[in-house]
């Protein structure tokens, strides 16, 4: 491996199609591969949600592929929508996609630290995605146990359709995904620590790099835990162990682990069953950091763009860095707030509650610093900037319901309602997606050498922003009115009758929002071929990726070693000739 890693820097770019586009070692190609994987996944996930929204309001509707959606099929849609969106979109696009493409360029490196490992991580992720999609096509279909895959539903093959082979494929796919993410994470960390160009000190790194670095740390420490849980779950499902499955569960008349019974191998059982809560602990110890894995890169992109398009230095650069670190560290101490309903000790719940609300502090630091960056700036409202502002808006709206849910006394009535669905979709779903869109519009010229269409971009932004709020804001009211989540059909329930109109409104908003995503898709592929040719630095930004041609050459800097003399956000520097100072400009340019 070391020799190939060596070769990719030392020799000319590969010329064969396979080495260039399929099994490429170039971090830029791998980044685009990740991005397209996420693009496919997001459309799959979106259509699953479309079917759910139709079924919730018009349960009798006849849908393509499904006909009438049965309750268990609704649970399949819900499970696969969550799984695909969380793992293959929110984890894949902002970190593995953009991070792969831009981390090395922004720190002045010719590639990632381990190019072969990088290629392996992508193809492992790809295999994981194929295995996940295969779950749709096996007998019984995809699993019904939700993206959190709670035991006992997930551990017992006879618990429902899809809990047989489909569920096994789900767990295997996630285990493969864990391995891929671990390989990616250690590559990101090593690259950040070891491959920075001369003068690129840690505190001269763009905030995007800080976000990718901390996200990689979270991934490195979190995915191993999910992997362990997945291995134990597979053993429980297939070999008759009892890590999670409790004894005495009635499975169509048969008890699990009956005293004196035999296990699948025909040997006597000498135990009474395990703990479903153990799964929840292992899952959420991964699951909560995963939330930050999804959102931190978006925060990095938002910081970058707000500064660039306000023509001002980011407000409180170091505070931003420490806030990212604080969010990362606190993110590992709050997993219990997903389990307030599990009957945990009120003292534990109190501790988790306090830690959770503490995350409000670094989050507020970031929010106010973003506002401080905008304040008094000469703002350029280009499409990337619109999405960055949209990110801040959604982050605040989605984040403010966090302190509500952080309190056990409020979480217990709200937990199994649409309130939680609204909360996590706004902050983890849509805000993170806005981060991805912002990054796409911003970096598209660098990645493909052409500009995206501004008018279409604006239409996409305004409809998506209004649509996202129209879909997810009413969910909070539904939740407060006691509308439970995860149920396939509640149109016949008396006390929810008056909410059907609201549900209908949300579904129509969803149709419009989904429709406008095709405007984005059209803009994306049309601009790739027909867009206006992009300059080296169309946004007049300061970071290293804008010093090289669009798209950058094979080794990023054309054989030149960049030397960094400036911080990443030197806009409107007094005494400077232009209103921005590139990081690689000579040290004499600034007046301070």
């Amino acid at each position: 491996m070391s020799d190939q890693a060596h070769a990719v820097h030392a020799h000319a770019a590969p010329t064969g199609f396979i080495r260039k586009y399929v099994f490429s070692l170039d971090h830029k190609v791998i980044g685009i591969q990740y991005y397209f994987l996420a693009l496919v996944a997001v459309f799959v996930g979106m259509f699953l949600s479309l079917f759910m929204r139709i079924h919730l309001v018009w349960p009798e509707a006849n849908l393509p592929w499904f006909g009438h959606i049965k309750p268990e099929q609704y649970l399949t849609l819900l499970t696969m929508h969550g799984t695909i969106m969380v793992f293959f979109v929110l984890t894949t696009a902002p970190q593995s996609g953009f991070g792969n493409y831009f981390l090395p360029i922004q720190i002045g490196a010719p590639d990632m630290a381990f190019p072969t490992l990088n290629m392996l991580s992508f193809w492992t992720t790809f295999v994981s995605f194929v295995v996940m999609i295969a779950a749709f096509f096996v007998e019984g279909g995809a699993p019904i146990s939700g993206w959190t895959n709670y035991v006992t539903l997930s551990a017992i093959p006879s618990a429902g359709p899809g809990q047989g082979l489909g569920e096994d494929l789900w767990v295997i796919s996630i285990a493969i995904f864990c391995v891929a993410s671990l390989m990616g994470a250690l590559n990101f960390i090593t690259t950040t620590l070891d491959l920075r160009a001369r003068g690129m000190s840690l505190f001269r790194m763009p905030l995007t790099c800080w976000a990718w670095f901390v996200t990689a740390m979270l991934g490195l420490l979190a995915f191993g835990v999910l992997l362990a849980g997945g291995i134990l779950l597979l053993l429980d499902r297939n070999l008759g162990t009892s890590f999670f499955v409790p004894g005495g569960i009635n499975l169509s008349g048969n008890l699990s682990f009956p005293p004196g019974g035999l296990n699948p191998g025909g040997h006597p059982i000498t135990h009474n069953g395990g703990s479903p809560l153990l799964w929840q602990h292992l899952f959420w110890f991964f699951g909560h950091p995963e939330v930050y894995i999804a959102i931190l890169p978006g925060m990095g992109v938002a910081s970058q763009l707000l500064s660039t398009f306000s023509r001002k230095p980011i407000f409180g650069y170091k505070a931003m860095v420490y806030a990212i670190l604080a969010i990362g560290i606190l993110g590992f101490l709050v997993w219990g707030h997903h389990m307030f309903m599990s009957g945990m000790s009120p003292y534990s719940a109190f501790a988790f509650s306090v830690m959770t609300m503490a995350i409000g502090v670094p989050s507020a630091i970031k929010t106010f610093n973003w506002l401080g960056t905008l304040w008094g700036g000469r703002i350029r409202f280009a499409t990337p900037m619109l999405f960055a502002i949209g990110f801040v808006s959604l982050f605040v709206s989605g984040g403010l319901s966090g302190p509500f849910l952080a309190q056990p006394v409020l979480d217990i009535p709200l937990h199994d309602t649409y309130f939680v669905v609204g909360h996590f979709h706004l902050i983890m779903g849509v805000a993170a997606i806005f981060g991805i869109f912002a990054g796409t519009y911003y970096w598209f010229p660098k990645m493909f050498g052409r500009m995206m269409n501004e008018t279409l971009g604006r239409i996409h932004f305004f409809v998506t922003l209004a649509g996202a709020y129209a879909i997810f804001m009413p969910m909070h009211y539904l939740g407060m009115a006691g509308h439970p989540r995860r149920y396939s059909q509640l149109t016949e329930v008396n006390y929810l009758h008056r909410l059907i109109g609201l549900q209908e409104f949300m579904s129509i908003a969803a149709f419009i929002t989904i429709a406008v995503q095709f405007v984005f898709l059209f803009n994306f592929f049309w601009s790739m071929k027909k867009g206006k040719k992009a300059e080296k630095n169309p946004w007049e930004a300061t970071t290293l990726e804008w010093t090289v041609p669009s798209p950058p050459p094979h080794d990023n800097f054309g054989g030149v070693t960049p030397v960094v003399n400036h911080g990443p956000y030197e806009y409107s520097v007094p005494g400077a000739a232009k209103d921005y100072v590139m990081q690689t400009d000579p040290a004499t340019v600034t007046a301070h």
């Binding site: 490195l220 191993g224 992997l227 135990h271 030149v560």
Partner: protein, 248 residues
């Protein structure tokens, strides 16, 4: 390729770039084929291995916490009117002690192999990454102890010993689903064994690299990071053995 680099003496490289005020002397973080860039590559691979091991730690920390939790779970017994545990302590097969000695010995032999390669690397002239055909070196190769091969055999021997331990357990009628204690025995030893198998394959690659006349530097890099990994697997095994032994 790197136009700004000059052949000045390179200070001990520090991690990453310099600070905002002190620009470090030109160093090669680029792996751009300069003959003596192996120290940079070595540092990069060591950092990577360090963080890979952090991920391995998290995997086994998770297994350990599951172990402790599962051990402590009680189920209600009507007969005794209280919570009782179903955890039945297992007796570990004695062959594990032999395996432990084998693994510790393999760490020693791998350290010797690494040291030998480091010496060879120092003896070989700089500015070339190719193995030196110098007669002295060839003589040295012929007469030195094949530490790498011995380590490979010891590592494979440990794995065979672990399979023997599994066989002994099965012979006693203790299977993976017999009791949570036995489930964890198989999970922990299995996961550790798979990890060590990775190390054995890396050693095989290092041996093969020698046959394929790969540069000495490459062989040294592989052996060096594998040694880091191997010693850690040693430590991990002692930890697992202690856990299974003392927290049974």
């Amino acid at each position: 390729m790197a136009t700004t680099l000059s052949p000045v003496a390179v200070d001990e490289p520090k991690i990453g770039g310099g600070g905002p005020t002190i620009v470090p002397p030109p160093r090669d973080g680029w792996g751009d084929g300069r003959p003596d860039d192996h120290r940079d590559r070595l540092r990069r691979y060591r950092i990577g291995m360090f963080f890979a091991l952090a991920a391995v730690v998290m995997l086994f920390v998770s297994f350990t916490s599951a172990y402790i939790v599962r051990q402590g779970i009680g189920s209600w017994s009507d007969a005794s009117a209280r919570y009782v545990t179903d955890w039945k302590p297992i007796t570990l097969p004695p062959v594990l002690w032999v395996n432990t000695v084998i693994l510790l010995a393999s760490s020693f032999t791998l350290a010797m192999a690494r040291r030998g390669l480091a010496r060879k690397l120092q003896a070989s002239p700089r500015r070339t990454a190719k193995p030196m055909p110098a007669p002295a070196l060839i003589v040295d190769q012929q007469h030195s102890v094949p530490w790498l091969g011995i380590t490979f055999v010891l590592g494979a021997g440990f794995l065979v010993g672990q399979v023997l331990a599994w066989e002994q357990m099965r012979h006693l009628g203790i299977f993976v689903s017999t009791n949570p204690s036995s489930s964890f025995f198989y999970v922990l030893t299995g996961a550790h064994g798979l990890h060590l198998l990775g190390g054995v394959l890396a050693l095989a690659y290092a041996g093969l690299a020698s046959l394929l006349r790969k540069p000495l530097v490459t062989r040294f890099l592989v052996v060096d990071v594998t040694a880091l990994y191997w010693h850690f697997m040693d430590f991990l095994w002692i930890y697992i053995f202690a856990l299974l032994h003392f927290a049974r």
